[in-house]
Amino acid sequence: MQTDDLIRSLTVDLTPVERNTVGRRITLGIIGGGVITLAMILLGLGLRPDLAAAILGSSFWIKWGYTISLGVGAIAATVHLSRPDARRVRWPWLLLIPFALLAMLSASELIRTPRSEWLALLQGESWRVCPLLVLLLSIPILLGLLWSFRRLAPPSLCLAGAAAGLASGASAATLYCLHCPEASATFVLVWYTLGMGLAVLVGTLLGPRFMRW
């Protein structure tokens, strides 16, 4: 095809593009996937029975503080990495702050607990399923984000995939808190982080395959 013809074909039926379409599209992808994840929790796992009481307690908010702050950071990174002229991210280390804070809480928790109960603190009731559930619940959100990226232009597919993976993992973990009754910071530090890490891995693997443009 001649380049002039191409330009003509691209110009007919030109539709206007609103400002901040990138942000809106990513939000839409996350919400779209998040609705499915939420449905999976409500219909498949059920809310934790003591949710109304737990939401007033500190351990619930420690979990949410951890997953929500990681989610916000990861979504910001995802938006950033979706533009072709994105400069290198200078603040990936900021994502370590929630991790470090939680690690300190976990350390103080362990200090206050007799050594014989450490294993119970670490394993809780659900350590076997927690990481895999977080990973499973992150899949719809990751798929939503991959849909978002069909109109976006990430310069680095692996990085964008990793950021999208963390965004989906942290969002899924946030919703999973509605089900998960675990209260110990040590549990969250290990198993939630592992689940989100698996989501990052999946995102990094899927990015180069499904985000190409």
């Binding site: 380049t3 330009i7 110009t11 593009v17």
Partner: protein, 178 residues
């Protein structure tokens, strides 16, 4: 050259707002820029260059939502072109020599060189064709006065006078512009 970035940006914003005229002018203006961008990097593969130009135009079109109106437009457009070129190398499994890698990855230097070329072209366009040609021959392409005279079919004195007057005219224009 500021004006060119500004012009392109205004056309792009017009295109984003749905102005088909501005948008097709933008795409047409990008074609020569992209041709030299890819031409410098894929020496001698003209079919590939034209393919990449077209792929980049399509990417600019389908991904135009990722352009942020508050940011420089040429940096965005060259970032799209750079991605398309790296993708091309990846597809053709071609290995890029490490010495050339800098040129490929650095779009910024290219923009400057490209803008400088556009400046020269624009300035030389402002003086008489004969003077411009002789300045190009003797000062840019590096011909000697004798060679330029033979090529232009004129005397050496004529060449010297024309180049001198042309440079003077250029200097006057630059002072006027500055």
């Amino acid at each position: 050259m500021r004006a060119s970035e500004d012009q392109l940006r205004i056309m792009m914003i017009g295109g984003l707002d749905g102005d088909a005229g501005a948008y097709s002018a933008l795409l047409a203006a990008l074609v020569p820029l992209l041709r030299s961008f890819f031409g410098c990097r894929l020496r001698g593969a003209d079919d590939d260059v034209e393919d990449l130009v077209q792929e980049t135009l399509m990417a600019v079109h389908t991904r135009r939502a990722t352009y942020d109106r508050d940011r420089p437009f040429t940096a965005w457009a060259y970032a799209v072109a750079r991605y398309k070129m790296i993708d091309h190398f990846r597809r053709t499994r071609q290995h890029v020599p490490i010495e050339g890698l800098e040129d490929i990855l650095m779009a910024e230097g290219f923009e400057d060189a490209c803008n400088a070329r556009m400046d020269v072209k624009r300035l030389l366009g402002g003086i008489s064709a004969k003077q411009a040609q002789l300045i190009r021959d003797t000062r840019i392409d590096g011909l000697s006065v004798a060679e330029a005279a033979t090529r232009g079919g004129m005397s050496e004195a004529d060449v010297k006078v024309s180049v001198h007057r042309g440079l003077k005219a250029l200097a006057a224009r630059l002072k006027g512009e500055g």
